[in-house]
């Protein structure tokens, strides 16, 4: 079936299988109906309409952690304490169906700009970064840095894959940046310090493009740090969950 590129549509998808990264972080692999491809750009998200909450549907966004070329859709979900949407998703069993609409979002990378690319993510915020990095590796030749923030208590999802990609591609560097014990999961002062030292204080180079993804205020702080340091507004893309 011909589908206009990127126009959001509704799909009824089936949960094929799950992959548990930890007791509270899980990838869900969703199968699209055979005749309905979902055309999206790396970094975009889908909107799930869940029969949850006191006024269903409960609408929640989940980034596509898979690449458009993969066929099956993968989302990587954190169980949020008391969260009705994520709680519902953790209760799904293979064979269950979900209604989603997509794709959405301008936090994406379709064709990488010819400048150095820096991806900064905390926790599961790395999910939309994964397909963007794969796309950048497949199409450009610019340096790529991935700073994957986390802490000792949360899983470093997709880290093994990033390590492999970095060893196969000399122009890509991947680093894990763990917050010290006791830091709240959504915070990472170490990550903020590294970004400041490297991309604000170390040089006057301001051509880099950034993609930042994190829950809550950390995303905004990183964005403001870089924009405030002279990077162009549109070169600092930020998705706050």
């Amino acid at each position: 079936m011909a589908v206009a590129n990127g126009v959001p549509r509704e799909y009824r998808v089936t949960l094929d299988r799950v992959r548990d990264w930890s007791s509270d972080t899980r990838s869900l692999f969703l199968r699209l109906p055979a005749d309905s491809p979902l055309v999206f750009d790396p970094g975009q998200f889908v909107s799930l309409a869940l029969p949850a909450g006191d006024r269903p549907p409960l609408v929640r966004a989940y980034s596509l952690a898979s690449s458009p070329e993969d066929g099956a859709l993968e989302i990587c979900v954190d169980r949020v304490p008391g969260g009705e949407g994520s709680g519902y998703l953790f209760g799904l069993l293979p064979g269950d169906e979900v209604v989603l609409t997509g794709p959405f979002g301008s936090f994406k990378l379709a064709e990488p700009p010819p400048t150095p690319l820096v991806f900064i993510a905390q926790g599961t915020g790395i999910a939309p970064v994964r397909p963007m990095v794969r796309r950048a590796l497949a199409t450009g030749d610019q340096p790529i840095v991935v700073l994957q923030g986390g802490n000792a208590a949360t899983p470093m999802v997709y880290a093994a894959e990033f390590v492999e990609l970095a060893s196969a591609n000399p122009r890509m560097r991947w680093e894990s940046v763990l917050a010290v014990a006791g830091t709240a999961a959504a915070d990472n002062p170490q990550l903020e310090r590294i970004v400041r030292e490297r991309y604000v204080e170390a040089d006057d180079e301001r051509a880099r493009h950034f993609w930042i993804c994190a829950v809550g205020a950390l995303a905004t702080r990183l964005r403001d740090l870089l924009r405030g340091a002279g990077y162009e507004r549109r070169a600092v893309r930020c998705e706050k969950w």
Binding site: F45, V59, A61, F104, G105, D224, E239, K240, W241
Partner: protein, 115 residues
């Protein structure tokens, strides 16, 4: 009590709701007391594909009256609004704009969700 009059570019009949801002939040989504929160909490549908997190523009509304009765636009709303189809000088994101006085809004016919 504050009042929001809701008009539809599609020609659907307009609606008016009255609410007590001190009773916010009214729903699960958007900034508490935002246009999205108030509408959803009063049984009026407004698209909100990202769950009211300022990431999709499907909650785009156009202010016909009372624009000054909304919270000031923050940087993330301005960033995201840039992507709204049919953007006007009087556009806001329903999930971010918190209501502080009476308003008349128009819900555009085409959002990203129905493009």
């Amino acid at each position: 009590m504050l009042r929001i009059r809701i008009c539809y570019e599609s020609g659907d009949p307009e609606r008016t709701i009255e609410f007590d801002p001190a009773a916010a939040p009214f729903s699960h989504d958007g900034e508490p007391g935002s246009i999205l929160d108030v509408l959803l909490g009063h049984g009026i549908h407004l698209e909100h594909a990202c769950g009211g997190k300022c990431a999709c523009t499907t909650c785009h509304v156009i202010l016909k009256d009372g624009e000054e009765h909304l919270s000031e636009q923050q940087e993330e709303e301005a960033d995201e609004l840039d992507n709204a189809p049919g953007l006007t000088m009087h556009s806001r994101l329903g999930c971010q704009a918190v209501v502080t006085g009476d308003l008349t809004i128009v819900i555009p016919k085409y959002t990203i969700n129905q493009a």
